[in-house]
Amino acid sequence: MYAVRLFEEATIALFHAGDLPAMVHLSIGQEAAAVGACMATTSDDYMTGNHRSHGHPIAKGARLDRLMAELLGKATGVCGGKGGSMHLADFSVGSLGESGIVGSAIPVATGAGFAAQVRGSDQVALCFFGDGAANEGVFHESANLAGTWKLPVVYFCENNGLAVSAKISDTAAVPDIAIRAAGYAMPGVVVDGQDVLGCYRATSAAAARARRGDGPSLIEAKTYRFHEHAYGLAVPVPYRDQTVVDSWFDTVDPITSFAGRLLAWRLADEADINAVRAGVEQVVEQAVQFAKDSPYPEPEAAYTDLYAAPEEVDA
């Protein structure tokens, strides 16, 4: 969680320094959901995400330096500089990519689960999407397909209550996305999205169910984003009360609350926590340096990767 937080705070600094070629959609405040869910899977399991994109591959185990290089459009980036912030992917850890078109990766995760089922592997596909995406048609289509075919997919809704500026109460007929699960014959649970252990437990149960062949689940993590939809985006008309934002930050910051619990349970002391923080700070610092030091791709690279050459097939 701290790696996600520091990684994104580093992008803010890069943004102000003019090093970032584009806006980023920060997940600061939502780290517990991404991390709790991904910790319940292995690098053999599949994962797709969305435009609020950095936390998912970090939590899935992707290298921070190559992710940061991608954000700067460098050749060493996970996508060779062709994807950028909204399209991070690292197939080596099962990250099949983030998606910039809201909801469009939901069927992709469903297909990855389908492949696991056909191949008879015990892999699951973890599918991140937001409350806004839950109103897209492909959410319904995918959940219906997965429920019908009992696909090993964990649909994980990071419900931060806002689609850019639109409140969920103005855009969805039900307050809880999870109750839609009933229409797809899958369990639907609501968890506290600021509680990393709660997200982990719910996802572990859903993944175990999927591996048993019992089909998909829908988990809805109630969370909150502390920053704007996109960092640097100026919204002319206020759509949320800053005091509410502040109160979330003060009371339900997933990182400080988790650290507090570790201390309360005597599982760690201040020194342990500081050591973890220092380690993460170093890794993020190195990631930023690696990204800055990396070369841009050669212009010719714009014309590669469009089509695949024939695959070597085992006889």
């Binding site: 062709k82 099949l96 910039g100 469903t110 297909g111 191949r119 289509e141 397909l145 469009l306 089509y307």
Partner: protein
């Protein structure tokens, strides 16, 4: 009529039909590679006639009836391909591609590029072009040019059953997304062709044109049923001493430009026959390319024979006139000679 169809002189038993070609290609590839899975609407009941026996042969794990969820289905196929399968999706009617357009463009076409080459998306999507039969506005589109405009996809439009079989097998073996548009006007007699030998692998490579008729005066490129019309027109024009070379690109992306250029440089004239709507059609792309690359060799205007830029009307009194026809092709050839 026989003069116009020299390739169809064999007896019916020695011929291959469009639906048989699809069935054979799918069955052979599913036998060859267990990663190939078949998905489509009303597939297991074989409503469209191309899926005879596949369920019994390959089982329910690899043969799936899809719900009415075109977008979900195309995205599912993309994800399944990224996770190691080789899905073939029967989308039935080509007009239904619009329901899934985001998944075609945002996922199927782009993931490999966006992710810096990490993704492989060996997906084949089949769809039939159901025009010219009173299906009216919602079933009769010929949308392949829209996909020619999307980098990352391959687009195939076969004009006879043997090519369909061979192209489909190549498409299934290809590691990229291939869209196969099947001209339903060729399902019957028109699309039949000599049956490839059973004991020999029949592969038609993607991106290689065929020349079903050689000639010296005009190059007539045809797409789908356009090839059939071009051959008919060529036979008629022959009576007047006009020698037409008919070229069937078979694959629109990647297009076999060398074959087209070589022919046009030899004949000095070009007509492109395309059942798609005129604006930004495959014929438009061929015309523009020929003008750019062969301008010095041209001895007349490059002429497009396409469907007029209207939606497909229902009444037979309205519909027939909007499409390319043998007479329109003949007139177009004469225009290049004028």
């Amino acid at each position: 009529m026989t003069a116009t169809k020299p390739r169809q002189s064999a007896t019916r038993a020695a011929q291959l039909g469009f639906l048989q070609a699809i069935n054979q290609a799918q069955t052979e590839e599913m036998e060859r590679d267990e990663r190939v899975v078949l998905m489509g609407q009303d597939l297991r009941a074989n409503v469209f006639g191309a899926a005879d026996g596949v369920l019994a042969k390959f089982g329910a794990a690899r043969v799936r009836d899809l719900p009415l969820s075109e977008a979900g289905s195309i995205g599912l196929a993309a994800g399944a391909a990224m996770a190691g399968l080789r899905p073939v999706v029967d989308l039935t009617v080509a007009s239904f591609v619009f329901v899934a357009m985001d998944q075609f463009v945002s996922q199927l076409a782009k993931v490999r590029y966006m992710f810096g080459g990490q993704a492989r998306v060996p997906v084949v999507v089949r769809a039939a072009l159901y025009y010219q039969g009173g299906t009216a506005g919602h079933h009769a589109d010929r949308p392949y040019p829209m996909f020619m405009n999307v980098p990352g996809l391959k687009v195939v439009v076969p004009s006879n059953a043997a090519d369909l079989k061979g192209l489909l097998e190549s498409a299934i073996r290809d590691d990229n997304a291939v869209l196969c548009f099947e001209d339903a006007n060729l399902w019957g007699r028109k699309g039949r062709s000599p049956k490839p030998a059973d004991d020999v692998e029949h592969l038609v490579p993607l991106g290689v044109a065929a020349t079903p008729r050689t000639g010296t005066d005009v190059t007539v490129g045809g797409i789908g049923q356009g090839v059939y019309l071009a051959i008919q027109a060529a036979a008629e024009l022959e009576k007047d001493g006009v020698s037409c070379e008919v070229i069937d690109p078979r694959t629109l992306v990647p297009m076999d430009w060398p074959t087209i250029e070589e022919s046009v440089r030899r004949t000095g004239r070009c007509v492109a026959v395309d059942p798609a709507n005129r604006t930004c059609s495959a014929a438009s792309e061929i015309s523009a390319h020929v003008v750019e690359t062969c301008f010095d060799a041209l001895r007349g205007p490059v002429v497009r024979v396409t469907t007029d830029d209207v939606h497909v009307p229902f009444s037979p009194a309205l519909e027939k006139q909007i499409y390319p026809s043998k007479d329109k092709v003949t007139a177009a050839v004469r225009r290049t000679l004028a």
